[in-house]
């Protein structure tokens, strides 16, 4: 008779009570898993989108660029940097960009916006920009045309084939002016990006801003998004502090903050849920211990050491939690698995907040290990705390009193 066997049988003595308790745990696990899965799914989708649409996982700038955002803080990516990037594992791709501001004008209407010079093919491999061309065509290498985000085009009342006048300031005060025919209109799922700017070919941008061979940013695609810090340090080690290397979360601190804030809100809700469940389990254990006082007394009387009885009762408490957790996972994991690949669409009104982050309005789910592990650890810790109760009861148990019970 192993302690665990006896604990298991004891668990089912009061079937109904055990089932109700385990069901409560299962329900808490079910909701927490679902909630965590949805949170993590949404966050990772948000991060994915931001990274994919725009920032990339890492960017390399001139040390002052992030502060000034000035074309004056462009740099020539030296061989040392290219060697460093080529020799770092996990970097799949790096593409150059020139980013600055410009005035766009049709003659009647003028508007300020971001102007981004890109290598059309390489850029496409990272941000898949061409998928957002709603009318017209994507850029090709050496192109003289311009892609304009849809809201800007609307405000300018400009259409495909119209020519835009671009006026800006080039490198160290050089004047920058040029004519660019509209080659395509970009329609992003995010309003932010739809108001953001226009894209031209990298070489056209270098001419325009008078920055031959220069870039403002190198945008990196890496194989694993959890490893960006590691990769950053690997590059930093090779190039020293000649360049500033930023990860997506350093470039988008508001997003990180928003996610952490939201996560904290979720933790509070889950904590309340689990505390309620914890008291439920505790109630069951208290009843169980009072019902079994005499029986526990007999076991110690006939020669069972207290620690063995404590181990048995400890197992029994953990088993209630374990049964509940397993049941909770049996319910939640299949449902989540389905939704991971099939986000639940939301009506447009509810979805507005999502659009800000370039997300299609839907409930996204994730099955990253922590979604499951967190529940497991939480229930384990709760039952561990509760299991202290029978242990203490047995320490204080007086056999002669227990036998009179």
């Amino acid at each position: 008779m192993k302690n665990l066997t006896i604990a298991w049988r004891n668990l089912w003595r009061n079937k109904r009570r055990t089932l109700i308790t385990a069901a409560a745990v299962a329900l808490a696990v079910f909701f927490s898993t679902l909630m965590s899965s949805m949170q993590e799914g949404t966050y990772s989708k948000m991060i994915d989108n931001i990274v994919k649409f725009y920032s990339g996982y890492l960017q390399i700038h001139h040390n002052d660029y992030w502060e000034t955002r000035s074309i004056d803080d462009s740099y020539v990516p030296g061989q040392d940097l290219k060697d460093a990037l080529n020799s770092t594992d996990e970097i799949e791709l790096y593409v150059p960009r020139i980013e600055s501001f410009t005035l766009l004008s049709t003659g009647n209407v003028t508007k300020g916006a971001a102007l981004i010079g890109i290598d059309p093919e390489e850029e496409n491999k990272i941000t898949n920009l061409s998928q957002w061309v709603s009318t017209g065509e994507y850029l090709s290498k050496g192109d003289k045309g311009i892609l304009v985000a849809v809201n800007i085009a609307k405000q300018l009342k400009a259409e495909i084939g119209d020519t835009l006048v671009l006026i800006s300031q080039g490198y160290h005060g050089a004047s920058a002016a040029g004519l660019f025919p509209i080659k395509g209109i970009l329609k992003f799922p995010s309003p932010d990006l739809n108001n953001f700017g226009a894209y031209i070919d990298l070489d056209a941008a270098r001419d325009f801003f008078s920055v031959p061979d220069m870039v403002t940013s190198m945008v990196l695609l890496v194989s694993d998004y959890d490893h960006v810090q590691k990769i950053k340090h690997a590059i930093q080690e090779k190039v020293g502090d000649k360049y500033s290397i930023m990860t997506w979360d350093e470039m988008q601190p508001e997003i990180v903050q928003m996610i952490e804030g939201d996560r904290a809100g979720g933790v509070v809700m889950k904590a309340i849920l689990y505390i309620v469940i914890g008291f439920g389990i505790l109630g069951t254990i208290i009843m169980m211990m009072s019902e079994r006082k005499r029986e526990n007394g007999i076991m110690i009387a006939i020669g069972m050491q207290k620690y063995r009885l404590q181990t048995m009762l400890f197992y029994e408490t953990l088993l209630i939690g374990l049964v509940g957790v397993i049941a909770g996972f049996v319910l939640s994991i299949p449902i989540i698995s389905i939704f991971v690949n099939n986000p639940i669409p939301l009506p447009a009104e509810i979805g507005e907040a999502y659009e800000m982050f370039g997300l299609e309005p839907a409930m996204y789910f994730s099955l990253v290990p922590k979604v499951v592990l967190n529940q497991l650890i939480t229930v384990f810790v709760i039952t561990l705390c509760i299991a202290v109760y029978p242990v203490i009861q047995i320490i204080n148990l007086k056999v002669s009193n227990a036998l009179r019970a």
């Binding site: 008779m1 006896i6 049988r9 004891n10 003595r13 005499r294 029986e295 007999i298 076991m299 110690i300 009387a301 006939i302 020669g303 069972m304 050491q305 207290k306 063995r308 007086k398 056999v399 002669s400 036998l403 009179r404």
Partner: protein
């Protein structure tokens, strides 16, 4: 051979408002192979005396020596081990562990003692045959009658090969027929295997069977007769 020596034993319950002198200066000794009844009305101190004797409770004064060991001086985990190896217990009712089968209940003690499976199996079989319950070996206690449960409890008490068995009113919850049956088994074990039984009772039919009758009143021994 003297196996138990009780000297000036005292037990005073202080925990409630009134002080209860439940055992009041008891001197007693027991030999191997006795079949002794402790008799007295309810509240006379039988349970308290047996609990002290079995190391289930601490005396307020005096000494209990079992085979050269002063039980009162043992630390609690040593005391539990001492009980495991030296004393068999039968309580008034609901003795058995409900989630274990008859076999497992008897085996339980030997498991605690760390006996081999072979030895456990052999002894369990032998004991259940002795108490006439070999055919119920795989039943759970709830499936047995009160008398059958007490017989399993006797088998379990014997499993550890203890020096003596303490039984606190083992027949109190049984009808007269099953009482007789249980006593017959106890007598037989006493006669054939020299198992020492010390039991309490206030049932005259049980007293009749005892070879020694110790009468207790208000915590004091008022008579101690041996018969043959």
């Amino acid at each position: 051979m003297k196996i138990i020596d009780i000297k000036n034993l005292e037990k005073i319950y202080n925990d409630s408002e009134v002080k209860v002198h439940a055992v009041n200066g008891v001197n007693l000794s027991f030999e191997k192979g006795e079949f002794a009844a402790i008799v007295g009305p309810s509240g006379s101190g039988k349970t308290t005396l047996l609990n002290l004797l079995g190391g289930l409770d601490k005396p307020s004064g005096g000494e209990i020596i079992i085979d050269n060991t002063s039980v009162g001086t043992l630390k609690s985990s040593r005391l539990i081990d001492f009980r495991l190896h030296n004393i068999g217990f039968v309580f008034q009712a609901y003795n058995l562990i409900p989630v274990l089968t008859v076999k497992e209940n008897v085996e339980f003690i030997m498991l605690l003692q760390g006996k081999s499976k072979k030895e456990r199996d052999a002894r369990t079989k032998e004991l259940l045959e002795a108490v006439g319950l070999i055919d119920r070996i795989d039943s759970r206690p709830a499936k047995l009658s009160g008398g059958q449960q007490q017989r399993v409890a006797v088998a379990r008490a014997l499993a550890s090969k203890p020096k003596f068995i303490l039984a606190d009113e083992p027949t109190a919850n049984l009808d007269s027929k099953t009482t007789e049956n249980l006593l017959e088994i106890m007598e037989k074990l006493n006669r054939e295997e020299q198992v020492t039984f010390i039991f309490s009772t206030h049932d005259a039919r049980v007293v009749k069977k005892a070879k020694r009758v110790i009468t207790i009143e208000d915590g004091k021994i008022i008579s101690d007769e041996r018969r043959n």
